[in-house]
Symmetry: C2
Subunit: 228 residues, 2 copies
DNA sequence: AAACGATCCGGACCGAGGTCCGCTTATCGT
DNA sequence: ACGATAAGCGGACCTCGGTCCGGATCGTTT
């Protein structure tokens, strides 16, 4: 219910017969099409769309940090309770605003062209993944920061689980004997929006340095020769 | 009784002539003794102590998550404004509760026995650092989680800067040619309280696995032989 | 001791997130 | 078409973090 899609625009078919694909274990972790809300009542769907539209407009006008739930409700000519019933909380609303881009990104990972999508060797896919994440994060920095969940939900929300699962999958392919889950957490932490924002906006680091840092990190983590 | 020592109990002298010490660049990043509050007025100091005592009691009773600023003020028989003037915000109050343990930890890093303190080779100090952090984090998990700062302050508050600076220092010693700052962020991210909590409490991972993961991560990151 | 200025105190006040419950409306079976 | 029922709606209400300013207190100076 929290992360249902914009207008549940069905993803393009995620497998093309002649191309390589990832194992299907990750698919169910993606942003669920309408799992929680199998079929919204007509008025509810209409209000949902109006709310998202209003929220997007208000974010464009006053910034994501200044977005208040009451303002969204008012701008959509809808009661405050409706906003919370539909999106759960403020984080849920912001997350919904990011949903469209999230789906595109997931689709690119699962079925897009290599090296981001399947077909390239795992380490190369990891390298591409990091750079794509960095770019996407910088693009949507404001929303990403405002949508940060509380500490106890931070690692359990579906989008992050999906991305982390993707990284873990690639790591297991590259390093069958390592603890892919923990290493995936480590790599994902490097791509945390709050960290990226700190380094770029607050410390003034150029994005190139962050990308080089990612390449270096992937190299170090996936190095397979024995310790020196 | 975790939060016993309140008033800025002066740290033990941080350098002993006959023992190895770290360069002094980090010292000023530690928890400031009374930099912000050079000399509190008598009544203010008294109120500050009562507030910390009351807060510690309320945390023990109702958990850190359930702590409200108004309750602390009432329990200390003090006005609400006093709490905010003294500690800035909720995060500041929780951070103050962690200050004693933080100082002890910093002292152990700067002047304690090897391998945590100076004297051991940097990689060995890194290994010890991670395990010590993991243990400390688990001990004070509740407070650590409740005291998490907002995303834009997360990487700038003095305690974290100090710890990260320490890691960066060790990394630069071990890997003079690497980007120690970025790698320090990566290593520190592995030790983030929210992540530790997720893995141990929510995923049920035993602490041993996290420690092994840290050792593995340090090995991979500090490996100096050429990529395979 | 008395007065004065800087510091501090207190609690009324505000804004925003989140909840609740009686009312409304869409949907579906007949 | 129509009633029954479940889903949705709205906005009053609550809590809590954070602010503000008139008045009290401390420490110092003369």
């Amino acid at each position: 219910m929290l992360y249902a899609g914009f207008m549940s625009a069905a993803l393009p078919p995620l497998s093309r017969p002649q191309e390589p694909v990832d194992p299907p274990e990750l698919l169910q972790l993606g942003a669920e099409p309408d799992v929680d809300e199998p079929c919204l009542r007509a008025d509810a769907a209409r209000n949902r769309a109006r709310l998202l539209e209003a929220a997007a407009r208000l974010v464009a006008e006053h910034g994501a940090a200044g977005l208040t739930m009451e303002a969204v409700a008012a701008a959509a000519s809808v009661g405050k309770g409706t906003v919370f019933r539909r999106f759960g909380d403020r984080t849920g609303l912001l997350t919904a605003l990011l949903d469209h881009s999230e789906r595109k990104f997931q689709a690119a990972l699962l079925a897009g062209p290599a090296p981001l999508g399947p077909g390239a060797p795992p380490v190369e896919r990891l390298r591409a993944f990091g750079c794509a994440m960095l770019r996407r994060c910088v693009e949507e920095m404001e929303l990403q920061l405002a949508a940060e969940p509380s500490p106890d939900r931070r690692y359990t929300i579906p989008p992050r689980r999906f991305l982390r699962g993707h990284v873990a999958l690639l790591l297991r392919q590259a390093l069958p004997d390592a603890d892919g889950e923990l290493l995936a957490h480590t790599l994902m932490a490097y791509l945390d929006p709050a960290l990226i924002h700190h380094l770029t906006a607050q410390c003034g680091m150029p994005l190139e340095r962050l990308e080089a840092g990612w390449q270096d990190l992937v190299s170090r983590v996936t190095r397979t020769d024995p310790p020196g």
